[in-house]
Symmetry: C2
Subunit: 239 residues, 2 copies
């Protein structure tokens, strides 16, 4: 059985304007590879309802899972929850269990549970809450879409919770060989090796160090024995 | 006149598997903001023809410019040029001027201009070459799609060449204020200020430092006087 597929949707003007570098995609990619879930696509959109709705609806139909980051805080630019409700065509409202979680949190902190903070309890009908062990305000899963915070520490904590409930596949393994030759020199034999192993994915990544060209050759796949066999041949060719 | 819009398409298994962190999107976002071109969307796809074709065709119809990175080297996993030709429905072949550039380069280096290296002269019909001052193998622009290398140093050099020929708009300016309060506390007045200035985009980005919560408030826009006026009000509110 092939591994489940996933897409990521990163939401936020701050990333598309260049002000902030996203780090959540790389974290998600790494964790999903380990869990045997193929990250097949990622999209970055601004804080605009129509852009979010269009992307979510395209991705949730095309892949087994969609992971989103960003836009679920208390300020006016946090529109993700409402956009997801719109994408699914379901109502959204302040949900009692989310309200109770947040009320207790702000009571403990001695801080007013004002309208803005209450916005973070707006959850689309039919969603399951995602636990936020860092700052309480929950994410949610609706269908195959998992809606999480953009702050990396919170995103990572929420993701760990979500993945505990998802069945993965065979982990994507990778091995690499660094060769002190340019890509153009190894391309023909590397291509022949790739054709010998259609179940593996082989990539070459050139680099330049101290003026000399080199290439990292990477083989990825889910079958450890096949990967080992291909690596032995790769080392014989270029090692 | 509104600023021109752009999308980025990052191509490569190595990024979606988590092995490599993309840095080209952040560079493109920063440079486009300065040039008054709005980066409205970014997509990341694997080294698969169908995924590239689908994304390129969606993006080139939706935005004024599309910038791609990755997949134009000499190895079998470099399929971008062929995929772009397919997306536009035009033939692709080894182009004479690109062949001559590369031939001269490899002659100088005393290295064989073999089949793999000749692949880098495959250019779709009707494209204009993009200069590569780093490693010679050119990128190309076809219609509104600018196809560049994935290696950051080469991507950045190619992009500088492309942008020299593109008319931008009013630069996207931004100013920010750091406040030592949580988002929930400033949300209501910040929203009111945002509603007062519909032409500006206002975002709030929470952070935690030494256990205390704070928020960076960012105002973006193209009109410097309006930005200054809004910042004065922001400082009065929270400064």
């Amino acid at each position: 059985m092939p591994n489940p597929t996933a897409a990521m949707l990163v939401i936020g003007d701050e990333i598309l304007s260049g002000r902030t570098r996203d780090s959540n995609m790389n974290h998600l990619a790494t964790v999903l590879s380990q869990r045997g879930i193929t990250l097949a696509e990622a999209r970055f959109v601004p804080d605009q309802t129509e852009a979010i709705v269009t992307a979510v609806n395209a991705l949730r139909l095309a892949y087994d899972h969609v992971f989103t980051s960003g836009g679920i805080g208390p300020t006016h630019d946090d529109i993700t929850a409402d956009a997801i409700a719109l994408a699914f065509g379901v109502p959204i409202s302040h949900r009692a269990d989310a309200m109770a979680l947040l009320q207790a949190h702000y009571d403990r902190a001695g801080v007013a549970f004002n309208d803005a903070r209450q916005r973070m309890a707006r959850i689309p009908d039919g969603a399951a809450l995602i636990d936020n062990p860092v700052s309480i305000a929950p994410g949610f899963s609706l269908g195959n879409v998992h809606v999480m915070a953009g702050v990396p520490r919170i995103f990572e904590a929420m993701l760990a919770g979500v993945l505990a409930g998802i069945t993965g596949g065979a982990p994507l393994l990778s091995q690499s060989l660094r060769v002190d030759r340019g890509e153009g020199e190894i391309a023909a034999s590397f291509k022949a090796l790739a054709e010998e192993y259609p179940e593996l994915s082989m990539g070459s990544y050139p680099f330049q160090q101290n003026g000399a060209f080199g290439t990292n050759l990477v083989i990825r796949g889910t079958d450890p024995a096949m990967l080992d066999a291909a690596m032995i041949k790769l080392q014989r060719l270029f090692g």
